[in-house]
């Protein structure tokens, strides 16, 4: 895989205190770890730096904390960039990105559904893939899969 040269974006100046760390990543412009409290400002700054396309939002459950990863693409720089922020497991809340990237809508719904991450200010945070009323968040590490032998399906007529 050919690594493209990253566009020289001065992230520390742009993001200021919100920037926690800037990690390199193979084949991309690297990963920006930011403070979750400044999420809105970071999104705006990154968007204005040319990363107009939101590829995906994924949540990872690290058991002791949770991580949200935003993957972004810049048409000008032809490169990917990752934003990542750590959230406490007991209160995983981050501001929504829908105001900056409208496409974040379904990604956030899925992240909430699967990894139980609350997005503050999301217009429509309801079930997308699972049926309404489903109580679990399957992609948490505590959710274990079972062989169907363990599973008892009760189908009865009333």
């Amino acid at each position: 895989m050919t690594a493209l040269p990253a566009p020289p974006v001065p992230w520390p100046e742009l993001l200021g205190e919100a920037l926690v760390a800037l990690e390199p990543m193979e084949g991309t412009s690297g990963r920006i770890r930011f403070r979750s409290a400044d999420a809105e400002r970071v999104f705006r700054a990154v968007h204005d730096a040319g990363f107009h396309h939101l590829t995906m939002i994924g949540g990872i459950d690290w058991v002791d904390h949770r991580e949200v990863i935003y993957t972004l693409w810049s048409d000008a720089g032809k490169t990917y960039l990752f934003l990542s922020t750590d959230l406490p497991a007991d209160h995983p809340t981050v501001a929504t990105a829908t105001r900056v990237w409208p496409s974040a809508n379904w990604h956030e719904r899925e992240a909430w559904e699967m990894v139980d991450i609350q997005f503050e200010g999301h217009p429509d945070l309801r079930h997308l893939l699972m049926p309404d009323g489903y109580e679990f968040h399957p992609l948490l590490r505590s959710f274990k899969l079972h062989e169907p032998e363990d599973l008892e399906v009760k189908v009865r007529h009333v």
């Binding site: 893939l129 699972m130 049926p131 009323g133 489903y134 109580e135 679990f136 968040h137 399957p138 948490l140 505590s142 959710f143 274990k144 899969l145 079972h146 062989e147 169907p148 363990d150 599973l151 008892e152 399906v153 009760k154 189908v155 009865r156 007529h157 009333v158």
Partner: protein, 195 residues
């Protein structure tokens, strides 16, 4: 099981999040696995009474088995092979198999793919909308027993948990030949059936 016995409807129950079993999907006003074959039996016997004549019955049997209209829908991967079977190379219409979009006009439901709990009650609704006599073919491993997704939290491990299945077709996905073979086996079943 923590399901309250007075709750209406059918529910598949799944263990979740390391706790005891908790209700997962609720399907309201459905018939049980026992009820559907019973209704089927009653109807077929009714038909048998009407067609007591030994001359007429084989004719209707011949007609029924040679003109199976499957429901035109695609669940997952097998749907593509289902479509391929209607393509130029296999041409399922040779056997009089013509997919219809409305369940009212179908005799045969080919469950061509993974059945999830979310679609389960819609599948049963469609099955009940089909007029008697009707048959179900579970096409592929997912419909037969969950296939590679049998461990998943959202997948019904086999469509026979929901509706009575007449023919199972193995394969992931089955080739179109296998699907046609399944339909021919179903025709054999109908031929041998004692009404």
């Amino acid at each position: 099981m923590s399901a309250a016995p007075e709750t209406k409807g059918v529910r598949g129950e799944l263990p979740g999040a390391g706790e005891a079993a908790v209700p997962f999907v609720e399907i309201e006003a459905l018939r049980s696995r026992e009820f559907i074959p019973a209704a089927k039996e009653a109807l077929t016997s009714l038909i048998a009474e009407q067609g007591q004549s030994k001359l007429i019955r084989p004719v209707f049997n011949w007609a029924g088995r040679n003109s199976l209209f499957p429901l035109h829908w695609g669940l997952a991967c097998c749907a593509i092979e289902f479509a391929a079977a209607f393509g130029a190379r296999w041409d399922a219409e040779r056997f009089g198999v013509v997919p219809r979009s409305s369940p009212r006009q179908c005799d045969l439901m080919i469950v061509n793919g993974t059945v999830t709990w979310k679609v389960a009650h819609k599948l049963i609704t469609l099955y009940e909308q089909m007029p008697e006599p009707k048959w179900v073919i579970a096409m592929g491993n997912c419909a037969t027993g969950g296939g590679p997704f049998r461990t998943a939290y959202s997948v019904v491990p086999g469509v026979d948990k929901l509706v009575p299945v007449d023919v199972y077709i193995a394969g992931c996905p089955p080739r179109p030949e296998a699907m046609l073979e399944g339909i021919l086996r179903l025709e054999d079943l109908i031929r041998l059936r004692k009404e």
